[in-house]
Amino acid sequence: MSVTDDAPQAPRAERKPDRRHVRDVALPRWMWVPAVIAFLVIALPVLGLLLEADWARMPELLTSEAALAALRLSLETAAASTVLCIVLGGPLAAVLARGRMPGLRTLRSVVLLPLVLPPVVGGLALLYLVGARGLVGEALRLGFGITIPFTTAAVIIAQTFVAMPFLVVSLEGALRTAGERYEAVAATLGASPALTFRRVTVPLVLPGLMSGTVLAFARCLGEFGATITFAGNLQGTTQTLPLLVYVQRETDDAGAIALSLLLVVVAILVIAVARPRNTEGIR
């Protein structure tokens, strides 16, 4: 953290007056109407869940074996997938932002695909690549005796697939906004590329990286379509919270609502933890 504090003072000082300037511009009044509607579209359904909840049975519903197993699996897989997104998506974002080669634009469009594709389609695609008869799946099975579908690894792969663009897009944006001036200066002062990366680049894009990480983690927690098509649904192995909510809803609305509220609480916690740095990153 100390690195963040002492290294790049300049960009921060630059940003502040900019922000104040934005505040001085008055909003047109009509804008309040769609803004309030937009807020209600997001907030009211959650209120609906709260009103429908069976509060007396809540503790019992939330501490069932299946609920605890799903919560644990959700947090573990989302954490693992987010780490994968950072480790693999971070360098990808750097290549997209700084790379100088033809075809980068096409590459970027491909990276955005999971944002636009329905997750179920992603799950099917994974199933036909890594499944028993898929190109990679068959090689893994014949070569190493490994099968991926129906395992926790499949859940992590599905989540990484859908969440990766969130991290890449946030980080690439941060890298582009930061520009290359400070790195260039560091280099002229004799810093090695590794030192420049660690002391200049990383602190500069840290807000973007944080917001990307939070978005990716949140996307992993909510992942349903790709998981159910690719990984299956089994308590303790592949049944994450959204899958349990979906199955529970068939027979027990109260149980499904309780679990949904649990997901809402987890989501609020994620936003609360990430908020200060997150908003900074978005500006």
Binding site: L127, T229, T238, Y246, E250
Partner: protein, 262 residues
């Protein structure tokens, strides 16, 4: 700057999505107002009835010129909750007594439901049955990847009933949320065997092989049908129910592998 372009892109995307929502809503509204002149019969039916009801729809529209049958297929409990929440529906055909009961409990049927078909579970294996699965007990072999329905959905409830009756406990690799997903996991080669309805094996047309087992008779699934209370097309609705219960319906259902009520 580039980041702003990206934000703009995202905003554009949001507008696009909103546009999609709006236009689909509009076309829906257009559909129902246009449908007001030619008569439309709305049927909600369990997903396992897709093939048979599509055949009956064609026959019904030939027999009743000017009538369009609109069938919405889905999971029985989803359909039941649509009716309970006030969807304008003429006929409901469910894949279990329990889901029909959620509708009759609220007195939402015009007359008591009738059972028009039955279905039993069958083991679906890879074509040629390479693992040599011959009985329900074979499914408990440790080296097999078996997929079943989740106990919360009708096909899973039936499977649990058979486990209880036989004393054979399965350790599935996945409990899918609907029967077609079980079928998909087997036909795509990812599972060695799955428990599906006999009609699903028929509909799969050779992409899986069915293995009948006697214990399936312990958990026969009933398919009840009923005209919904205050149906917009009550008369036509009754005609549809009569057709499903009648000779043509019987023949179509038999061909798909459905049984008749005993």
């Amino acid at each position: 700057m580039k980041f702003r372009v990206l934000l703009g892109l995202l905003a554009g995307l949001a507008l696009l999505l909103a546009g999609c929502g709006g236009s689909s809503g509009a076309s829906d509204a257009g559909g129902s107002s246009a449908a007001a002149r030619p008569t439309t019969l709305t049927v909600l039916a369990a997903a396992s009835l897709t093939e048979t009801f599509n055949t009956m729809k064609a026959q019904f529209e030939t027999d009743n010129p000017g009538v369009t049958v609109r069938i919405s297929y889905g999971g029985s409990s989803d359909l039941a909750s649509q009716i309970v929440n006030g969807a304008p529906v003429d006929v409901f055909a469910a894949a279990s007594d329990a889901t029909m009961k959620t509708v009759t409990d609220k007195s939402l049927t015009a007359a008591p439901p009738t059972i028009f078909a039955t279905n039993v579970l069958q083991i679906a294996t890879q074509p040629g049955n390479p693992k040599g699965i011959a009985s329900f007990a074979d499914l408990a072999k440790p080296d097999l990847k078996v997929v079943v329905c989740a106990p919360q959905v009708p096909c899973g409830a039936a499977e649990q009933k058979i486990e209880t009756a036989t004393g054979v406990t399965l350790t599935p690799v996945s409990q899918e949320t609907d029967v077609k997903s079980v079928l998909g996991k087997v036909s795509s080669g990812n599972a060695d065997a799955g428990l599906v309805y006999v009609t699903d094996v028929t509909a799969a047309e050779g992409s899986v092989q069915g293995v009948t087992f006697p214990e399936a008779q312990q958990a026969v699934t009933n398919y009840p049908i009923a005209v919904i209370e205050n149906a917009p097309q009550a008369e036509l609705a009754q005609k549809w129910v009569d057709m499903v219960n009648g000779e043509f319906g019987r023949k179509t259902l038999n061909a798909a592998g459905f049984g008749a009520e005993k």
